[in-house]
């Protein structure tokens, strides 16, 4: 779609501010806000509604490119909380519009320097960490895990750029492999040959890496005869499962997040957790595993009206309203860990608060990312939990960095680390 395709939505935004707050029926008076952007920067432009206005203003040539426009567009995690909140009662596409606006900027050569540098490195090294390609598979040393090139694997495990290069998080990927192996599965990895998914670049407005990596991954998986692709990274999961569909390049394999896979294994009696993990934890829904993980629903058609002005779509369009995100699986896994108690935060699932790392914010505006993470840590601490548990290495990095910077005392874990402890 093009930015122009959202003109009707822009005109029909009611400036109601629903995109700034948790749904009325779910709202917690102490933690009402769901949009980090407006919560941090205050002016209406820094909200989904405000960006609809910016879009209309841009399309009608009231404003052109400027540092301020880019500031408004990019100080947003594309976390999708606004989208679910708006669509609770409406049929507009704020998230799609904001994503498209960025692509429009990039096509016109209007880029954020921090992102441009990162994409340059991605083109050379196939990762979003600005690291040389070599050593990507080091995290798996000593695990005795097969490579995809060797073939004959039941499950392919994709670590993703963050887990592969952030050595402090290697334990997460290693735990995942060991848990899968404990269930008797033959796991394969791409190792040094693993590639970026292209998802984070896509969110920054760069479209071509996503298409390129979709083709590459499809080839590799097909060559290895893989039927199931498991990942620990919510961003990779989102790219593989949703974005590749969106651009018409599905992978052709079953894409599963590791928490979903472990949940399935446990339900099938193939994995049992026996060791007590006496902790009280709270769960942070990664945006890309929660509300944004709702399957892509392709739609092409046009607007039609009945009763004179009631707006329908022909053919009918099913809106992605955050109903089918992956919310239950990680919680079910946690609930099965002996001795562990799960307490919920105020903002969860469809109206969960972002960790701060999404949408290229971590790379371009680290202080905003840290501020956003700090809000989440405070909310988590308010539950009285010992630890905040999540299921994405980008969330973990953002939250852990913020604990270090701000002296917050709560521990941060990945679900799979606790599963591993409980084996």
């Amino acid at each position: 779609m093009a930015l122009e395709d959202f003109e009707a939505d822009m005109m029909r935004c009611s400036r109601c501010s629903d995109c700034k707050f948790a749904p009325a029926s779910q709202l917690d008076e102490d933690w009402p806000e769901i949009c980090p952007s407006i919560a941090r920067y205050g002016f209406h432009s820094y909200s989904a509604g405000g960006r609809f206005v910016a879009g209309l203003s841009f399309l009608t040539k009231r404003v052109g490119y400027s540092p301020e426009l880019l500031d408004v567009l990019y100080k947003c995690q594309l976390c999708g909380a606004c989208d679910v909140a708006c669509k609770k009662d409406r049929e507009l596409e704020p998230l799609e519009m904001m994503t498209e606006f960025r692509a429009h900027c990039v096509r016109d050569g209007q880029t954020i320097p921090a992102h441009a540098k990162l994409i340059e490195s991605l083109r050379q090294n196939d990762n979003m960490m600005q690291r040389p390609r070599a050593g990507r598979g080091d995290w798996a040393r000593g695990l005795g895990v097969r490579t995809l090139a060797e073939g004959n694997v039941e499950v392919a495990y994709h670590a993703g750029c963050r887990l592969s290069f952030d050595s402090a998080q290697w334990n997460i990927a290693r735990s995942a492999i060991e848990v899968l192996q404990r269930a008797g599965l033959t796991v394969g990895i791409a190792g040094d040959n693993e590639l970026c998914c292209g998802g984070r670049a896509y969110e920054m407005g760069y479209r071509e890496p996503l298409a390129h990596y979709a083709d590459q991954h499809r080839k590799t998986l097909a060559a290895a005869g893989v039927k199931t692709l498991v990942t620990s990274c919510a961003h990779c999961y989102h790219a593989f499962k949703i974005l590749y569909h969106k651009i018409g390049k599905p992978l052709g394999v079953d894409v599963v997040h590791v928490t979903e896979y472990v949940d399935r294994l446990m339900a099938a009696g193939r994995l049992e957790l026996t060791t007590e993990v006496p902790m009280e934890v709270t769960y942070h829904d990664p945006c890309h595993l929660g509300r944004l993980a709702e399957p892509w629903i392709p739609w092409e058609g046009e607007e039609k009206k009945v009763m004179n002005q009631l707006v329908l779509r022909d053919p009918p369009k099913e809106f992605r309203r955050g109903t089918h995100g992956v919310y239950r699986a990680p919680r079910q896994v946690l609930e099965r860990i002996p001795g562990l108690r799960l307490t919920e935060m105020a903002r969860i699932e469809g109206y969960s608060w972002c960790c701060g790392a999404g949408g290229g914010v971590r790379e371009a505006y680290p202080d905003f990312a840290a501020w956003t993470a700090r809000q989440r840590l405070d909310e988590a601490a308010g539950t009285g939990a010992d630890a905040l548990v999540t299921a994405c290495p980008w969330c973990i990095r953002s939250l852990e960095d913020s604990t270090r910077q701000t002296g917050a005392t709560i521990d941060v874990y990945d679900v799979i680390e606790l599963v591993h402890k409980a084996l």
């Binding site: 629903d18 009325a24 009763m307």
Partner: protein
């Protein structure tokens, strides 16, 4: 018009550089609001969806900063316009806008005296969830869960389906902290005598009539920074949250609340029932509901609403329909109210809607819409993007009877031309301690030029018609400086008084007069 450097610096020094902007990208988001396309189409400047761009926007943190901003405006010959959540962020060229977003504290919930003290950016939903923890609730106006009870109490409108048990906003406002257009701070009611927030009319100055009257001054008389509102008993649990998933979270109606839907063979019978329900004082919330509105509210999508509409269920069960929630302190009280309702229906020929009565999710939806202002935009903006009020009255039920058919007949000339949604019916309504409120709400599409122009015509002709037939006064007839000379003479010369008040309160016309009145010459 751009701010002079000197003025910009003076304002920046009040709020800090992070909280002021004069950049066009930021300012455009303050030139756009619900219905702004109608304002520009009326020829008041701007283009399409954009009213004229303000000169700057500021985000003050507290009352002292608001006072300082206002004083700078008076000194530098600038105009300001303040708002709370900004669903209606009017303003215009050479004005600065004061966005009160950072003033978002629930200052106090005094359960003993049933008072909540709040700042402008506290939303209906936030106040609701805070108050019910103490077994109380505030009146909720039906402009959406995330609009401001302070704005409703001090500055604009104030009706909602809980009017029958919690009153219209103007009746609920107690102490007020008011930054006058000169920058002075005025405290109304008991607050002004240092006696706390408990009473809006004294000891101390009572200016509620001037502050807002029935409709409010729409930001034309300064800035309200804190307000106390009355709280009422809440019959539900201390935590009233849904479960399940978006877009409609499941939940249960509290045990001592019951929801009823009823239809009537004729609108006259329906109004007889409205009168009786009002007189008996049984309603916790009340809605006179066009069938199409219920379709929007109870469905997750326009597609589902259309299917429901086509099914004919609502035609069968809810023609001339009403819905209401009854609540009781005890099961016996609730049983009594239900008996009264059945008796009213028996006498007036009403019938409970059999199928709808069996829908617990629908009952929950009605409760949430009525006491939380939740899902309001399903009915307001999802169908076609825009709504307008044509016929509007706050009067006796009998006057409303007059308006009911007349307003539909009037609208029909426009629906026949395809300008607005044709729902075969009209007029939403509820009642309060003041009067029965009846609003004719046609839906139009803001991006359809013909629809917009047609609505403007509908507005003008329906206002004229209402005055001619004495069946009401259009909502906007008494709102905004531009309407004063046209409609003031038909409304007891209210515009003359508004001009006098404006002159007395705002000698430099520093506060934007457009939402209220220009001062007396």
């Amino acid at each position: 018009m751009a701010l002079s450097r000197d003025a910009y610096v003076a304002l920046r020094d009040v709020v800090g550089h992070e909280f002021i902007s004069d950049d066009p990208v930021i300012l455009d988001s303050y030139s756009f609001y619900f219905l702004s396309e109608l304002i520009t189409a009326l020829g008041h400047g701007g283009e399409k969806k954009f009213i004229p761009r303000p000169a700057a926007v500021l985000l003050p943190e507290n009352t002292v900063q608001v006072q300082e901003i206002v004083r700078v405006c008076n000194r530098k010959g600038l105009r300001f316009h303040a708002f709370s959540t900004g669903v209606v962020c009017e303003g215009g060229e050479d004005r600065i806008q004061i966005d009160l977003r950072r003033m978002n504290r629930i200052v106090d919930i005094d359960a003993k005296n049933k008072i909540a003290v709040i700042e402008p950016y506290v939303s209906n939903a936030r106040l609701f969830h805070a108050a019910i923890k103490k077994g109380l609730r505030a009146h909720v106006h039906a402009a959406g869960a995330n609009t401001s009870p302070l704005a409703s109490a001090t500055s604009v409108g104030g009706e909602g389906p809980d009017n029958p048990s919690a009153g219209y906003s103007s009746r609920n406002v107690l102490g007020v902290e008011w930054v006058l257009p000169t920058g002075e701070l005025l405290q109304l009611g008991a607050l002004g005598a240092g006696a706390g927030w408990f009473c809006g009319d004294g000891p101390g100055p009572s200016l509620r009539g001037m502050m807002r009257g029935v409709f409010g001054a729409f930001g034309g008389l300064g800035v309200f920074t804190r307000v106390a509102v009355k709280l009422y008993p809440w019959h539900g649990p201390a935590v009233f949250k849904g479960h399940g998933l978006p877009p409609t979270y499941d939940g249960e109606l509290p045990a001592n609340m019951r929801c009823f839907f009823a239809g009537f063979p004729t609108s006259d019978q329906m109004y007889d029932a409205v009168n009786a329900v009002w007189e008996e004082g049984i309603a916790h919330t009340f809605n006179r509901m066009p069938r199409s509105f219920l379709c929007y509210a109870m469905s997750d999508s326009n597609e589902a609403a259309w299917e429901l509409w086509q099914s004919g269920l609502l035609d069968r069960e809810l023609t001339n329909g009403i819905s209401l929630i009854l609540a009781g302190h005890s099961p016996a009280e609730l049983d009594y109210k239900e008996k009264v309702l059945h008796e009213i229906l028996r006498r007036t020929g009403g019938r409970l809607a059999e199928t709808l009565q069996q829908e617990p999710r629908l009952a929950l939806g009605v409760l949430r819409t009525s006491i939380l202002s939740d899902h309001v935009f399903r009915g307001v903006s999802r169908p076609s993007g825009g709504i307008l009020e044509g016929y509007y009255l706050n009067e006796s039920v009998d006057v409303s009877r007059l308006s009911h058919d007349a307003s539909y007949a009037h609208t029909k000339t426009y629906t026949d031309q395809g300008i607005c949604i044709d729902n075969g019916e009209t007029n939403w309504g509820t009642f309060s301690d003041i009067a029965y409120l009846s609003e004719q709400i046609p839906h139009f599409d803001p991006r359809d030029e013909k629809s917009v122009q047609g609505m403007l015509d509908l507005l003008a002709t329906s206002y004229q018609k209402q005055f001619e037939t004495r069946s009401g006064a259009g909502l906007f007839a008494n709102i905004g400086a531009l309407m004063n000379d046209t409609f003031g003479p038909m409304l007891s010369n209210v515009h003359v008084w508004k001009k006098k008040i404006k002159k007395a309160f705002d000698p430099n016309t520093a506060c934007d007069p457009m939402g209220y009145a220009f001062p007396e010459d």
